[in-house]
Symmetry: C2
Subunit: 239 residues, 2 copies
């Protein structure tokens, strides 16, 4: 088998710094974790919060701390520093090759979707962002690594796309229609969802938007690990 | 413009854990850094060393520490822990959107290549790995971010490929011939170099091999940041 991970990420219109932070880290006992945080508000302050949360989480994961404990520690740190006045959503998606499972930690009111072959399940149980109170816990979903599994996670920029114009996005419907295509790649799924949201926002995203898609495919290639990153750069301005 | 980054990475034959560690981190003042370390020997011990070095470096970069200082700190830490008995190569490739430059830090005897349009330059000045002695410094090369720039960095698995059979790899020649193709993508460059090395090793790599390619292209797309990761998974064994 192979795991494929794709991310598509865009900044709020006319804001140079995204409040969303996403990082990937190798797990010390095998596998890797993708950590996605969205700090309250947008721009520089939100970036500082989401970066702090992601740094804390990946630092702990690198030491072998379990995902749930890492999320709780980051929440306690944020709560202590900001006295409950600043919150931050967090998703952790881990390919844990020690337990041979995918572990999905969620502190994010935005739903997440799990698709097995053609069956699409929506996960939208109540989920409290980090920093809101003491003792915030993530909801954890653990799945066997099986071919045919697709997981879709996103920040609330996707949820709120189009609301300004009274045309909110129906992510589930769009996702269903993408999944009917023949074996869409994770990058196609992420790009299509993001493109819909940006269109609904009339090409001026009302918030930072990040879409993360994981897919487990039956192996059809070599033993090579690959990574690919693309960063658009404005000619003269800083990021 | 846009910066494209590609990585292709394979383990030593029949060794489940790569001694090479590569991570990507966002820089706090804009941009990102790719950090690649290769710990001495292979397998679990080498992995622990290269992970420790990469963690130390990305932790410092995340705090805004300059690349050269981060490399020196990681070297001092390794030297102190291992008393000079274990060394580790390090390359840091930073897209620094604060200074609008690409900063290349190298503590790796393996050469690196910088290609501007069709002109290929080999960088193989003496470069000492981390942990070898006190006060190890990286060689630093700083370049303006300009379209047409391609940078190729790799670990010594590529340098030693084929030596067992007396058919060493001529990386410069292969790279020259790839660059003659019409605008090869960084993934094509990384994959082609890696495939050559694996073939010379008769499909049983004698060492972990990692190839990292950065390319600055004139912008031809949207404002979306994208990332793509592919991890092959053995059915029943741990990584």
């Amino acid at each position: 088998m192979e795991v494929q991970i794709a991310v598509a990420k865009v900044n709020k219109y006319a804001v140079s710094e995204s409040g969303d932070t996403l990082e990937v880290i190798e797990r010390p006992n095998g596998g890797l974790s993708v950590v996605l945080a969205d700090g309250q508000t947008s721009g520089r302050g939100a970036k500082a919060v989401s970066q702090m949360v992601v740094r804390k989480v990946i630092g702990l994961l690198a030491e072998g701390v379990r995902d749930g404990a890492a999320a709780r520690a980051a929440s306690d740190k944020l709560y202590t520093e900001k006295k409950g006045k600043v919150i931050c959503t967090l998703n952790i998606a881990s390919i844990d090759l020690h337990s041979n499972t995918i572990v999905l930690g969620r502190n994010n009111p935005s739903p997440m979707f799990i698709c097995r072959n053609m069956q699409l399940d929506r996960f939208d149980s109540e989920s409290i962002p980090l920093g809101a109170s003491r003792d915030v816990r993530p909801s954890i979903t653990e799945l066997a690594i099986e071919a045919g599994l697709t997981i879709v996670i996103y920040t609330d920029g996707l949820v709120h796309a189009g609301k300004r114009r009274g045309q909110p996005m129906d992510t589930e419907e769009i996702l269903s229609s993408i999944m009917e295509d023949q074996d869409p790649s994770p990058q196609e799924i992420a790009d299509t969802l993001l493109a819909h949201a940006v269109t609904l926002d009339e090409n001026r995203p009302a918030d930072d938007i990040s879409v993360l898609v994981l897919k487990v495919a039956s192996r059809n290639g070599d033993n090579v690990r690959r990574m690919n990153v693309r960063i658009p750069i404005d000619g003269n301005t800083s990021p």
